[in-house]
């Protein structure tokens, strides 16, 4: 899988996300769980694999997202188990607290853990989590080490639960298109004119869903050079009987004045509400803003990235081969890098992604409903725990 990731063999963030989740599931199931601190062991194992995966292709943010999601799941499961266990403990402590002094000390100890667990299961605002970073993480090993009596059953239960949860995650990733598409009828009305760029499975499912609900509308597809996936999308849309017009990317500004809504897919959604999207998207977003056309981004929850972007145009980008733009044979005389007469006169720039700042986005539609760009940070806090975020980042820096 790491090798695959390194060679960028997996296309599309959804496929990547699903495969990452499946890989981590196998990692978890193969991981031999020690009797103490099972959650910690699982987290370490997942982290180790995750770091490798992320390092293999740092631009594919979905990998990191899924690793963090799995880590979060482990923590959550562990916490809920602990709270359940502590609840039992508390009950037993209440029933026979006069008999056992040893138990007494344990309850007082775990009272704090219960409080912390309660707090983190309630999912406090992320800032608070960040501030109380240390107590929570301290609570995890503490609670997991407590209650030695039912350790063996719990360890099995934890692993089982985690795998269950990861399965759910995989299921979520697989079905995210349907969940997003379900909302289509709420956003597309009769005779609407929609513009999209390139091709995204989420977008095509979204449009199909609206079409199936007997809405008839018109779609402008910008072809999305240099990958020209718009051609593919146009073909699919036409096959479903939608009125489709394929335009060149340069005609986006000319046509946007006749468009009611722009619906696009994304590569990743950052915590500030910014979008990493196929190249050309910023152009569309700017044009849409100029003409006050709503710019709607569809993104499955696996695309939500808990990182805040810094200089994303450069740091979260990937430069593809110039051969997509220029024929090497045609321009070989100009591109003589090898013959070395100083610096070459000709450079070709072919970036893969564009960054759309949050102020250009009108709405995000995820499988959890529609959200404002300003709300994304909060949505992300639902899916990730704050300490993973920090640890993971440090790990990347270490690599």
């Amino acid at each position: 899988m790491v090798a695959h990731g390194r060679q960028c063999k997996i296309e599309g963030s959804q496929a990547t996300a699903r495969q990452t989740a499946e890989l981590l599931r196998s990692v978890i199931s193969q991981q031999r769980v020690p009797y103490t601190n099972q959650a910690g062991a699982l987290i370490d194992a997942v982290k180790a694999v995750g770091e490798q995966l992320i390092a293999a292709n740092p631009v594919e943010l979905a990998v990191g997202n899924i690793v963090r999601r799995v880590l979060h799941i482990i923590r959550e499961e562990d916490l809920s188990l602990t709270t359940a266990a502590i609840g039992e403990l508390n009950l037993s402590a209440v029933s026979d607290d006069e008999n056992d002094d040893d138990r007494d000390g344990n309850t007082t100890l775990s009272a704090a853990a219960v409080a912390a667990a309660a707090r983190s299961t309630l999912r406090p605002p992320s800032l608070q989590t960040l501030l109380e970073d240390t107590p929570v993480s301290a609570a995890v090993p503490q609670t997991s080490s407590s209650g030695a009596a039912d350790k063996s059953s719990r360890s099995r239960k934890l692993k089982h639960d985690v795998i269950e949860a990861v399965n759910e995650l995989i299921q979520d990733i697989v079905t995210c298109h349907e969940q997003i598409a379900e909302q289509a009828v709420e956003h597309i009305h009769q005779n609407e004119v929609i513009l999209t760029l390139g091709s995204s499975r989420t977008v095509s499912e979204f449009l199909f869903a609206a079409k199936e609900k007997k809405r008839s509308f018109r779609v402008f597809v910008a072809e999305g050079a240099p990958r020209y996936q718009g051609h593919l999308l146009a073909k699919e849309l036409v096959a479903r009987g939608l009125q489709t017009t394929l335009i060149t990317d340069s005609a986006v500004f000319a046509m946007i004045s006749r468009v009611n809504m722009v619906i696009v897919g994304a590569h990743a959604v950052m915590a500030n509400g910014g979008v990493i999207a196929p190249v050309g998207m910023n152009l569309v977003a700017l044009a849409a803003q100029k003409h006050a056309v709503p710019f709607v981004v569809l993104a499955g929850s696996h695309k939500l990235c808990p990182l805040y972007p810094h200089n994303p145009e450069v740091l979260l980008n990937e430069l593809r081969s110039p051969s997509e733009l220029l024929d090497f044979g045609e321009f070989s005389d100009c591109m003589d890098f090898g013959s070395g007469s100083g610096s070459p006169l000709l450079h070709v720039v072919n970036p893969a992604f564009d960054y759309v700042p949050p102020k250009l986005v009108s709405l995000f539609i995820t499988d959890a409903g529609g959200h404002n760009p300003s709300y994304m940070y909060r949505l992300i806090a639902d899916y990730y725990s704050a300490d993973d975020l920090v640890v993971q980042r440090r790990a990347i820096a270490g690599n």
């Binding site: 146009a234 017009t245 340069s250 500004f253 152009l283 072919n350 970036p351």
Partner: protein, 639 residues
């Protein structure tokens, strides 16, 4: 003096409407706010030697290219016969009052020199609307002669000798009037100097001195043209006696005709009957663009080729150009325009008037038929439209007395002059202006391939400026590749990218140079599709956008979007990606009726995105485009 000043204030707004004086470079004292010096000041003399300083914000005088670089057959002053000294005094007294009253602007504007130049081009009545009519009586009081309402500034155009005489007259006769008339005098002197200069260059056909003052007065509304001969002037002058009203009518005629709308069935039928090419309608027409011709591409060429021998009405040169348009061998506004004009030149050379027909009428019809053929091949660009308008007005102006060979020679030289003056020289001037905007270390972005921008870049490179060029290109034409090749050959350092990556590359860019197919009267830049995107992103990054466009491409039409008027290219070129055989999803796209491919050729860039338009008249903001169209369009292009 005081009373005059107060009355001036009343008139001020009217004078301000006259507004934009596209004339001489600013004399250094222009910015002074004190009232104009009553005595002729030395800088006046400078004003008549325009164009030697290239001030970036000012528009050089309209005559400048023609004055300095082209021969003028006649001096403008020749059109005005010198009035007899006896009548001059009164007439001048009367008009000069009007002039001082009507044209004495607020102090700041008062010093605009060389207004005469715009007057020369435009006719006084048009540049001073109603100036002579509404002068309050108090102003006129000092001169005992009742003011004639029709008298306006252009009467000042007097040959040198007379103006001097007038001055002396005034000095002797009316001491109190002297201050008031000083401006008129100044203008007269300036005119005289200019006229003298022009006369020195002129080939020296001197007008016989006709003494009628009435003649001089009636001539005021004519637009003295360098190339018009004397008889034509007289005819035109008597025709245009209506003064302001005729100009008003002219202006109404200025409103561009509505374009051909291709969703109008009856007109399309009519057009089809006439047309030679007989294109087949495209099958999957884009609903939004029904008003534009959408024909099956690639079908016309063989049909035309087979028809070559049936098209006996068509001149082979025109036919050849039409084919070149059709196949796309000639593209770009300037190239197309030059090719068309040269074809017309040849056609005119081989033309002979059929018996019992007049040359001007028959030739106009001939040209019209050529033009409709060319439209069949490819819709006209604005530049071509303007050139055709010019040519037709030239033909219409040929006096009947002229023999056929002379007329043909005149037209030939007119076309030659148009090409030289409006395209080649204009480009040179644009390059001269634009190079001043390139500094060392700049990263210049250009989109597509504009001939003007290419010249600018090459010239700046030849000047040894250190800069880098970013060429942004787009499908389906990939015109940027050709530009890239040419620039790399010349040794310029280039970066090549496609339009989607514009947001990525814009970070490092410091200036954006764009070409234009046309600049419309509301400041909209009508250009190759994608230009608007580039300008928009540059605007978002706060990078100046400089549009380079020759003034002959300006048009008084207005447009807000890219839909109402555009041109559609071959949709097949979208479905195929050259060099990428893996992208073949849309082979046989025309079988499904739900799919349309839209290949727009142009788009309209809103004027907010444009920082500067560089034309042969200087560097102007987009808001000044209507001024150029108004002040220079009629005066220069189609006299």
């Amino acid at each position: 003096m005081d009373s005059r000043r107060s009355s001036r204030a009343v008139i001020d707004p009217k004078v301000r409407q006259v507004g934009f004086f596209t004339s001489a470079p600013l004399p250094p004292d222009r910015t002074q706010s004190d009232p104009p010096d009553p005595i002729r000041s030395p800088p006046l003399a400078d004003a008549s030697s325009p164009g030697n300083s290239l001030s970036p914000v000012m528009i050089p005088p309209p005559r400048h290219p023609s004055d300095s670089l082209l021969r003028l057959p006649h001096s403008p002053s020749d059109a005005f016969p010198p009035p007899s000294p006896t009548t001059t005094t009164t007439s001048l007294g009367d008009f000069s009052d009007d002039v001082t009253a009507a044209s004495s602007p607020p102090p700041a504007a008062a010093r605009v020199r060389g207004r005469g130049s715009s007057v020369k081009q435009q006719g006084a009545a048009s540049s001073f609307p109603g100036g002579g009519f509404e002068v309050p009586p108090s102003v006129k009081a000092p001169s005992s002669v009742p003011a004639s309402g029709l008298t306006t500034v252009s009467v000042v155009k007097l040959p040198p000798g007379i103006s001097v005489e007038v001055q002396s007259d005034r000095a002797l006769n009316s001491k109190p009037l002297k201050e008031k008339t000083s401006k008129a005098e100044r203008r007269a002197i300036q005119e005289a100097q200019r006229a003298a200069k022009a006369a020195a260059k002129a080939e020296g056909i001197k007008t016989p001195a006709v003494t009628a003052l009435a003649n001089a007065k009636s001539a005021k509304s004519t637009k003295p043209s360098p190339q018009r001969n004397d008889s034509a002037v007289v005819v035109a002058a008597s025709e245009k006696k209506g003064g302001d009203r005729s100009v008003e009518k002219d202006r109404k005629k200025d409103v561009p005709h509505p374009r051909m709308q291709y969703d109008d069935k009856s007109r399309v039928q009519k057009l089809k009957k006439r047309s030679v090419v007989k294109p087949t309608e495209a099958r999957n027409r884009v609903e939004l663009f029904r008003h534009l011709p959408q024909y099956e591409h690639g079908t016309q060429l063989p049909v035309l080729q087979s028809k070559f021998f049936q098209l006996d009405t068509l001149h082979p040169a025109v036919y050849k150009v039409g084919l070149q348009y059709l196949s796309g061998d000639i593209c770009g506004g300037n190239a197309r325009c030059i090719a068309m004009l040269q074809a017309f030149q040849e056609a005119i050379r081989d033309y002979s008037t059929p018996p019992a027909k007049t040359l001007s009428r028959d030739l106009t019809a001939k040209i019209s038929s050529y033009v409709s053929f060319l439209i069949d091949c490819r819709p006209l660009s604005v530049s071509m439209g303007n050139a055709i308008r010019f040519l037709k007005s030239q033909i219409a102006k040929i006096p009947i007395s002229l023999s056929e060979s002379e007329a043909k020679a005149t037209l030939h030289s007119d076309i030659e002059r148009f090409i030289n003056e409006k395209i080649i020289l204009a480009d040179r001037v644009i390059v001269k202006h634009a190079v001043t905007k390139i500094r060392d270390g700049d990263v210049l972005l250009t989109y597509g391939s504009s001939s003007a921008v290419e010249m600018i870049l090459q010239h700046a490179h030849e000047l040894g400026k250190q800069f880098r060029v970013v060429i942004v290109d787009s499908r389906p034409k990939h015109e940027g590749k050709l530009l890239l090749r040419r620039l790399v050959r010349k040794g310029l350092s280039c970066t090549y990218t496609h339009i989607n990556a514009i947001s990525y590359i814009m970070h490092e860019v410091t200036r954006v140079f764009l070409g234009a197919s046309s600049v419309l009267s509301n400041g909209t830049v009508y250009s190759r599709v994608g230009t608007a995107c580039v300008a928009m992103v540059a605007y978002g990054f706060h990078i100046p956008v400089l549009v380079c466009c020759e003034a002959y491409k300006f048009h008084e039409r207005v447009q807000l979007d890219s839909i109402c008027s555009n041109e559609l290219g071959d949709p097949d070129s979208i479905s195929k990606v050259p060099g990428r055989e893996d992208i073949n999803h849309l082979d046989g796209w025309d079988k499904s009726e739900n799919l349309q491919l839209l290949n727009l050729i142009y788009d309209a860039t809103p004027s907010d995105y444009v920082s500067l338009i560089i034309t042969d008249y200087g560097m102007i903001p987009p808001t000044s485009v209507p001024v150029i169209v108004r002040e220079y369009g009629r005066g220069q292009l189609w006299i």
